[in-house]
């Protein structure tokens, strides 16, 4: 069953006098509980695809459905609410807010929604990520891997339907990268978390169930349909 469906997505950027087709008629659907990796060269459109799928950017044409809700037509407030409740994000640069502790960073989405977090679940996540001892630390006091793990806890704390990760291991060493990927896999298996991850590393992408390969804004291969991605 597909949790996210995108149809005929097009996104064009204007760079001076040249038009760049970041997305060129992409259609894709993400199944519930799947772990999908999007790979491609620099400028192939993978981050744009992630942004459009998550509703951070609006496509020039095409539609994106998260469950029954069409993201492309949503107003700002509804989109924001949707992101709060159903979508989680993890970025290469972590983007934790420096003046707040790990604990406070995790709770920000709940505060925005004015609801109480599921403390047991947050505790479980923090312990799973080996961050429980560091919950009162400020981001500046943590290592890169710890910051990324904190960002993952923040993304998962509100039990999102889908987790988007944009090169989550890009700033991490091998050991930390391995831990993060193992975590994604564990989440997928244990709680059926849907994960969409963008990476340019095929070895990392191979940890996913499905690999979508992009080139010049088009899907050139999809392991759901083929067995191997030729990168």
């Amino acid at each position: 069953m597909a949790v996210l469906r995108a149809k005929e997505l097009t996104k064009i950027y204007q760079a001076g006098k040249v038009s760049v087709h970041a997305l060129n008629g992409i259609s894709v659907s993400i199944g519930k509980g799947s772990f999908t990796a999007v790979i491609g060269k620099s400028g192939s459109g993978k981050t744009t695809l992630l942004n459009v799928l998550s509703g951070l950017e609006i496509p020039d044409s095409g539609t994106v459905h998260l469950g029954a809700v069409e993201l492309t037509g949503l107003k700002d407030r509804k989109m924001a609410a949707l992101r709060r409740k159903k979508i989680g994000f993890v970025f290469q640069k972590f983007y934790l807010i420096p003046e707040f502790t790990v604990w406070e960073n995790i709770f920000i989405p709940f505060y925005l929604d004015d609801k109480n977090p599921d403390m047991d679940y947050v505790e479980f996540l923090l312990k799973e990520m080996h961050m429980w001892e560091r919950k009162d630390f400020f981001p500046g006091e943590l290592s890169g891997g710890e910051q990324q793990r904190a960002a993952i806890v923040r993304a998962l704390a509100n039990r999102p339907e889908i987790l988007f990760a944009d090169e989550p291991t890009g700033n991490l060493d091998v050991k930390n990268s391995e831990e993060v990927l193992a975590l994604f896999q564990k989440l997928q298996r244990q709680i059926g978390q849907t994960v969409v991850m963008v990476t340019h590393d095929l070895d990392i992408a191979r940890r996913a169930d499905r690999i979508i390969c992009l080139e010049d804004g088009k899907i050139v291969s999809d392991t759901e349909e083929e067995n191997e991605c030729e990168s």
């Binding site: 924001a80 609410a81 709060r84 983007y95 003046e99 707040f100 989405p109 925005l112 929604d113 004015d114």
Partner: protein, 852 residues
């Protein structure tokens, strides 16, 4: 916004200590400065009002009526706090030539609020008692012995037959009222000059005068009263209500209003700068919040809540500090400088001040939010292009690249920086000029301390006042101007002068001679030595002067408005357009003819004193048009031999501790000692009674100007500091790249040091000639106005311009002050402008490059 978000925002503020403190400091300072200025203004106003009330009484209006019903209605008016009644019952002749005075009765309220004080004795309590005003008593030929019999011829209208009747009455002098002329302009405030019990006077009232103390100090109250009593109302020109009594003189260009506007605008600018900078620094955080589900409204609310916290805290601290700080400042001025000032905080004004600052703060916060939401403007040169340009030059770094607007800073920021620096320096220059001007005016009025004859009754002036006054401890020196009168003045070219025609026209004199006064001075007196001789030292032959062959003549400038009416120099409001007229026909060496009771004397003009040269106002006040200053001997001759010495002006320089600047308190102690020596003269006050008000105004004005200067310098520093921070933030990445490419830090420092100096020093060096040129232009316009009918020609060539306009202007410019202020300003501003660059350059390369 929910409580959790509010708490989170608050925590964020606490953890961003530096930017929060900067923001809080600026907001607090804004409240502090604005409230201080307003409280100081109301304190000075209140002080002045109290002084005036003390000298001139508490009444604001006097209603003249002969109708008991009107009187009753006035008293019942809600704006009338209290009233005193004076009844005028009859007139009586004063001496042979002095005209008539009025006699009446008054209640105790009238004596109290009308400041009709007794110098000696008491108001009439029993039948046949009378209290007479001091100068009137002298004019009637009586001395000041209480209990003596005073014979008065009362003239009144018979109530039945309506015929004019006269009745000779004898009263017993129970009290002597202080000299009215000390306080009230003759002919305007005609109170009775003698008071008796009502039963002793004719029953028919000529007039009732109601002295009214209006409780509410707003101009509408006077207008209401005037509407109510259509006829016969005069206003006390010395109280809250102005002479016209009809409108409040409020100008948006008043010092305080201008200062407030400058303060609010500068505060808004600085707050905008700081808040925008903090928001810019947190842009990534806000983007992240958007990603994790914050909508625009929630972000706006969070930022506004932050602004609200800043506003709330600064409002509290700024208001408390403003009120407390000003209280202690006023206390310090009163206790340490011994300057009489009361603390008064006007709630309405404080509210307006708080409102203005609040509006500025919220405007700045609102603009910052809008700027943040609008997003970053694209720079016109991309980082890549810059790098490629550097590479093309084989990694050679040239200072030109940094100095060039395109490379050094964002073009808007560069322009903004240059313009703001120029404006700051302009403001400092102009306010320094204002401070100099105000300080000159203030000094002009202040020193030396002296006591004068204004309080002495006429007959005392015939005694040996100088000798006796000198005997008082504390009085260092006594100066006199002896009086010769009446004196006619003629000279050969007299009829030709435009000035004489004008003088006659304005003063209403006719005939072939010009009536003037001759004032005699004695050898060695300071008045002559310091002021008169100084002004004419080039031409005056001193021995000839003391022999009565040469004189000094005072030629004032007559001011006329556009209709040709004379304008008083101290008139308020002073007309915008006026002409100054000078006498130019009298020159040194001319022969004048003076004709007095003692005969005719031909004298040579030894020196001319121009009004604008007479630096001390009190000397100028003793002079009038064509006043002749001559040796005492000449005055004696003009008055006729054998006549006793009379004085037009007696003053004692008070100099207890060797300097001539005494506090009011010390002055008052000495005044009391003088008073003790002259018991018959009543309370001796000095001639500063009227001048006190002017002095307060001048003090307030100078104080305001100094305060304005301090505020503007501090604001300029703050603006420059913020500007420097913004500029330094913009160079971080580039500096990192340049350091990575091998450019030494020292070289970068040198380049940015030069950039800082060029902007700051350039602004100062360009503002000074601009300022001199502007002042020269104003001086030229003034000369042009001055030259009407005087044959003055504007300069014809560059040399003439330099000689007549530019150099005199430069001579009058306060170079010392300017140098001192600009040096102080420059030292601080260069440090605060360069320091952020220095910090940025000395950060690690990686830190520079990591910058978002």
């Amino acid at each position: 916004m929910n409580a959790n978000l509010r708490r989170l925002t608050r925590k964020g503020l606490l953890r961003r200590k530096k930017s929060s403190l900067a923001m809080l400091a600026v907001c607090t300072l804004s409240f502090f400065f604005v409230l201080s200025i307003l409280i100081l203004q109301s304190s000075l106003t209140e002080t002045e009002l109290r002084q005036r009330e003390r000298a001139y009484g508490a009444w604001e209006a006097a209603v003249f009526t002969d109708d008991a019903q009107t009187e009753k209605a006035v008293v019942q008016q809600p704006m009338v706090e209290r009233s005193g009644k004076i009844e005028v019952r009859a007139t009586y002749p004063i001496g042979n030539m002095e005209g008539n005075g009025t006699i009446g009765a008054m209640d105790s309220q009238a004596a109290e609020i009308g400041k009709l004080e007794l110098a000696e004795g008491h108001l009439p309590k029993r039948r046949n008692e009378i209290a007479v005003e001091m100068s009137t008593l002298t004019k009637m030929g009586y001395d000041y012995t209480l209990g003596q019999k005073i014979s008065v011829c009362l003239n009144y209208q018979d109530p039945i037959s309506k015929e004019e009747k006269s009745e000779q009455r004898v009263f017993i002098l129970s009290g002597i009222l202080k000299d009215y002329s000390m306080y009230w302009m003759e002919g305007r405030y005609d109170w009775p000059t003698a008071f008796a019990k009502g039963e002793d006077l004719p029953k028919e009232q000529k007039e009732r005068i109601l002295l009214v103390d209006i409780s509410e100090k707003y101009y509408g109250a006077v207008t209401d009263l005037e509407a109510f009593c259509k006829d016969g109302t005069i206003y006390n020109e010395n109280t809250y209500y102005e002479l016209s009594g009809k409108e409040q003189k409020v100008s948006i260009l008043e010092d305080t209003n201008v200062l407030l506007a400058v303060l609010c605008a500068a505060s808004a600018l600085i707050i905008l700068q700081i808040f925008s900078a903090t928001l810019r620094r947190r842009e990534v955080g806000y983007r992240m919040l958007r990603v994790i589900g914050a909508d625009k409204r929630q972000l706006q609310e969070m930022i506004l809540w932050e602004g609200g916290i800043f506003w709330g805290i600064s409002f509290l601290t700024g208001s408390i500090l403003g009120v407390a700080g000003t209280y202690f400042l006023v206390w310090g001025i009163r206790e340490r400088l011994h300057f009489e000032i009361v603390f008064a905080a006007e709630p309405g004004q404080i509210f307006i001040g708080i409102l203005s600052v609040s509006v500025s703060i919220w405007l700045a916060i609102g603009c910052s939010v809008m700027r943040m939401q609008r997003g970053k403007r694209p720079e016109n040169i991309s980082e890549q292009k810059r790098l490629s340009m550097i590479r093309k030059r084989q990694h050679r770094f040239r200072k030109k690249e940094v100095w060039s607007r395109e490379h050094a800073l964002h073009p808007y920021l560069w322009t903004f920086s240059v313009v703001s620096t120029f404006l700051c320096v302009c403001m400092i220059y102009s306010v320094t000029a204002v401070v100099k001007n105000r300080a000159d005016s203030y000094g002009y009025q202040w020193t030396p301390d002296y006591i004068g004859r204004g309080i002495l009754p006429e007959h005392m002036l015939r005694e040996e006042i100088p000798t006796r006054m000198k005997a008082v401890q504390g009085v260092k020196e006594v100066n006199t101007l002896q009086k010769a009168y009446p004196i006619s003045l003629t000279w050969e070219e007299m009829e030709e002068t435009q000035y004489v025609k004008l003088h006659r026209n304005l003063r209403g004199q006719e005939g072939q001679r010009l009536e003037t006064q001759v004032l005699g001075v004695e050898r060695g007196e300071k008045l002559f030595q310091k002021y008169a001789k100084e002004q004419a030292k080039k031409t005056l032959k001193e021995e000839a002067f003391w022999n009565g062959e040469e004189i000094l003549i005072y030629l004032p400038v007559i001011l006329t408005d556009r209709e040709g009416n004379a304008v008083d120099r101290w008139e308020e409001p002073f007309p915008l357009f006026y002409q100054e007229h000078r006498e130019t026909k009298i020159r040194e060496g001319d022969t004048l003819t003076l004709t007095g009771a003692g005969g005719e004397k031909s004298v040579r003009v030894g020196g001319i004193i121009r009004e604008f040269q007479a630096r001390d106002a009190y000397v100028a006040e003793a002079f009038s048009e064509y006043t002749v200053i001559a040796a005492g001997k000449l005055v004696q001759e003009l008055n006729g031999m054998g006549k006793e010495k009379t004085y037009s002006y007696v003053e004692g320089f008070v100099d207890r501790y060797g300097d001539t600047h005494l506090t009011d308190r010390e002055m008052s102690v000495i005044m009391k000692e003088v008073e003790k020596e002259f018991p018959k003269a009543g309370t001796i006050t000095n001639e500063r009674i009227r001048r006190e008000q002017l002095r307060k105004d001048l003090f307030a004005s100078m104080f305001g100007a100094v305060f304005l200067l301090v505020v503007i310098v501090i604001l300029s520093w703050l603006i420059q500091w913020q500007m420097a921070r913004a500029k330094a933030a913009g160079i971080g990445k580039k500096v990192g790249i340049l350091k990575a490419l091998g450019i030494p830090k020292r070289r970068l420092c040198r380049v940015y040091w030069k950039e800082t100096m060029k902007i700051q020093l350039g602004a100062i060096l360009s503002v000074i000639p601009c300022g001199v040129l502007l002042q020269s232009f104003l001086y030229w316009k003034r000369l042009e106005g001055l030259a009407w009918g005087d044959g003055w020609q504007p300069p014809q060539d560059l040399y003439g311009w330099m000689e007549q306009i530019i150099f005199p202007t430069m001579q009058r410019t306060a170079w010392g002050w300017l140098a001192l202020i600009f040096l102080g300003y420059l030292l601080v501003v260069v440090y605060i402008s360069y320091r952020p660059y220095w910090k940025e350059i000395h950060r690690g390369v990686i830190e520079n490059l990591r910058e978002e």
